[in-house]
Symmetry: C2
Subunit: 547 residues, 2 copies
């Protein structure tokens, strides 16, 4: 490994052990070259209505591509080569031997190099993300650029440690009394097999690169199956990995893109293929449950979750309402970490400024959302656009069955008049109306759920986490005893809790090297970014003995 790559890995190892703040790639766009933004935009625009030729091509007969910009509401017109599942598997199988024999040090170097090269294209990836997911430019830049790269670097560092965990060659000497029994032993981490990484439409790189890099560094070939509506961002990432592979004299097919269409999906064919041994998946629960049920596969899933806010008592109510409002508005609730159900006691909450009734709390949250959404410098850029119509329809449907405290507010995006936008709807419901709030309502919608008291709020949140899954929980309380109870109870449901977040701390954001993302312990998914088993299960320790 080059000393630069080695240093990068070592810094990342130290960071993820300590779990303190660390960024391998700066998240501020201003930290990059002055002309990077303009060049990135130009590069993105060049892709429109052309064949994407960045990724290495195998023989193919057709191209596919049906991405639509949620900002411009027109198709991007980017066309990618289409391959049948069987062909992808064959190419992966052929590329595998050289990759598995490349050795951990060299694999790490190639992959770190690819990340450094991807960083040169963060702006281009940002525009590609913006115009496939609907994220704002800043979120697109951060989530698909530095934050995704950070997660990949975190995975590489953890895997590098694990792949070097045990002595690889030892002389084992057992005293037998009259003589010593000597056996030379070797221990090798053997890659599991072909890895399939299934992406989602909203976070096409952030949710894909951890599994992709984890499988690669362990020596497995990877087939990336992007969501048909979010291909371009990850195609650029795969292009850079392929370049790094080719530069090292390896086959590009170590990592392949497998674009398909909504009408003719190939995911099941790939997932069920005998030679596919590892599957990473981000997306809806029904398909995720199917992926988990496949026999003979090791799966890493992130599925739906229903995230709770428990409002018990606060110091500064306005700061709390603002914080909740921002978390609900950020990317219009299209984050797996966004809060959905806000549990508030029917008697209201105590604050440092006096008691607030239930209706006051509802109004406070609604007004904070309204204030943010209607702020022209903040609203459109926080909300971003809605990735697809289903999300809009889902929220409109939900409104029919309960009381609406704040309806969607029409928002115009100053740069994109046709942008598909929808600000969060605030709905109010009794806790007993479980059919209203006890399911995922992905998108710009929050339910304020009226409960008997805070203990009841906690019980409902914990039950919801255990039965429906939860990726986050946000709790506001000034009571230490209640705080401890919430922590213990929600943690028992394998849900992390963020307490009393105000200001710049938001429950939606899970930082690489510090916050685990998805615990793997409740129905929101069976794996987490990034704990040791996330990398360990992609290879197998096998020892040989030589007398």
């Amino acid at each position: 490994m080059t000393s630069q790559a080695k240093t990068q890995i070592e810094q990342a190892i130290e960071a993820q052990r300590n779990r303190q703040f660390y960024a391998a790639y700066p998240e501020n766009p201003k930290a990059y070259a002055e002309d990077a933004n303009a060049k990135g935009l130009e590069s993105f625009q060049k892709y429109l209505n052309t064949d994407f030729t960045g990724i290495a091509e195998n023989p193919h007969q057709t191209r596919v591509g049906e991405e639509v910009s949620p900002y411009m509401m027109v198709g991007l017109g980017v066309q990618y080569p289409f391959y049948e599942a069987e062909d992808l598997v064959t190419y992966a199988r052929n590329a595998w031997p050289a990759w598995r024999n490349t050795g951990v040090e060299k694999r790490a170097e190639i992959l770190v190099n690819s990340l450094n090269n991807i960083a040169e294209r963060f702006f281009e990836i940002a525009y590609a993300t913006m115009h496939t997911t609907g994220q704002s430019f800043v979120m697109s830049f951060q989530a698909s650029g530095p934050h995704a790269n950070d997660r990949a670097m975190e995975v590489l560092s953890l895997a590098y440690q694990e792949l070097n965990r045990f002595e690889k060659s030892v002389e084992w000497v057992k005293p037998m009394g009259k003589f010593d029994l000597k056996i030379n032993k070797t221990f090798q981490p053997i890659p599991r097999g072909i890895s399939l990484v299934i992406g989602c439409s909203t976070f096409p790189t952030w949710n894909t690169v951890p599994g992709l890099y984890a499988s690669l560094i362990a020596g497995n070939p990877v087939i990336v199956k992007p969501h048909p509506k979010s291909i371009l961002p990850i195609a650029i990432v795969v292009e850079e990995i392929q370049k790094a592979l080719l530069e090292a004299g390896l086959q590009a097919n170590v990592v392949q893109m497998a674009p398909d269409t909504l009408a003719n999906p190939i995911t099941k064919k790939l997932a069920e293929h005998h030679d596919v041994k590892l599957i990473d998946y981000t997306g809806g629960s029904a398909f995720g449950d199917y992926i988990e049920s496949l026999s003979g596969k090791i799966t890493f899933t992130e599925k739906a979750g229903v995230n709770s806010v428990i409002l018990d008592s606060v110091n500064d109510p306005q700061a709390v309402f603002n914080n909740i409002a921002f978390s609900a508005c950020l990317y219009s609730g299209q984050m797996c970490t966004a809060p959905q159900n806000i549990f508030v006691p029917e008697t209201g909450i105590s604050t440092a400024e006096g008691h607030l009734g239930f209706d006051d709390v509802v109004a406070g949250i609604g007004n904070a959302i309204k204030g943010l959404v209607e702020n022209p410098k903040m609203g459109p850029y926080t909300l971003g656009a809605i990735q697809n119509d289903l999300t809009v329809n889902r929220v409109d449907e939900a409104k029919k069955y309960t009381q609406v405290a704040l309806d969607s507010i029409p928002v115009q995006h100053p740069d994109f008049p046709d942008a598909r936008m929808k600000s969060p709807v605030v709905m109010v419901t009794e806790a007993s109306n479980v059919e209203v709030w006890q399911h995922e309502c992905f998108g710009p919608a929050v339910f304020v759920v009226k409960t008997k008291d805070s203990i009841s709020s906690l019980q409902l949140a914990a039950k919801s986490a255990s039965s429906l899954g939860a990726i986050t929980c946000l709790c506001y309380t000034t009571s230490e005893a209640f705080r401890d109870e919430v922590a213990a109870t929600m943690n028992e449901a394998f849900t992390p809790v963020s307490f009393n977040f105000t200001g710049a701390a938001f429950v939606n954001q899970h930082a690489a090297f510090s916050d685990f993302h998805v615990s793997g312990g409740n129905p929101s998914g069976n794996a987490g970014f990034t704990n040791p088993e996330y990398v360990n299960r992609r290879f197998v320790w096998v020892g040989n003995r030589f007398a």
Copy 2:
């Protein structure tokens, strides 16, 4: 943790990282007190035809116990309290909170103490093992005593590392330009839930204690479901863990015994119970496949394997035949690591003493087995007794369908005239007769399979490992090139290879702290002793954040 326990853990951590020889508990019976053997025998004899009262008792209405000594061919008459599955789960659930809140340090101390106390009872456990499994006294002592304790200590040391892997409390400070964002974070390994450990009849402690101790140190309560024919050895182990728990002021029910009968098994009820989250299993493949298929469970299985010997070329043929003979005779082939299929080229093998034809090789192996079996000082003590009639019948049935080169030789055990004994049968078959050799024939039987050449032998062994599973492979070759090819090909089927074992090195023996046991990569099982995921998957990292 006491400094003694801490030292024991630290030595074990160092040992499993280095993978060199280490024994936490000496394997030589002579290393223990002079009167330990006599006392152990006396203790064992006191159990016969009585109620076992060592384990803490919950209310129960009946007792069960149907163990039979394969040496004496009479029932042991030991009776254990019987509990319904639902009651066991309830007791486990009730004992859990105090255990999970005990903290890793204290849990480690309690569990190390229990191992040290178990070591005081190795002889008693040895006799219990001998008279339930049929193992010889020495194997019973080593496998159920020090070797089992070593595996448990290895698990504790690995889990102790993993449970302390990340900082548990940090102040996370993110520079935001004009200010710093400060968030206090805590990270906790949260235990998964109730753990079920299903034992087997042949290695009642060695195969049970790794899962048992791994689940316990991670904070999970455990229900031990022993094989109805091998309860006593693990009951003594559980008794000592319960004593250590009680001494620390905890409930004995943190670990429970769940004995049942062949006629009325409770395993499925336990395995399918919603609250059971972790399942360890050792036994046949059909039931193991069922265990792996259960949704919502994390499973660790060791199932059947078909182990191969690849005979290509040797230096000293007699040394090789003797080694294979010993491995085939040891505990009459009732080890999951015992060789079954010996692949020999139809043209024979080259040796330092000249060429040996195929028939010479068959004769050599047969004569070596005959020599060992008929040696009155070696034979009975190497073979031990056959655990159950099915094993005898299976071998008798196999003989009908192929050529027998060496039939079973009648053996008398000098101490136990009624012992159920059967020396290995050597059968010869063409490679094309796959129905003869391409399935597990557990017990005292080896098949010498005539192949085209050594490359063909390797291909057959690898295919067998991939499709039927394999826990070991033994290869004899003087060619470096072929050695490398065998290693690469068998490792790709996730099977470890032992090369050119002669003298005191035997393929059957997997040493704690050094050899992984079962790779988890082929159908012989989905988990291995003892790699990091074996402990990591028993708990979940969950972080909380405090603004």
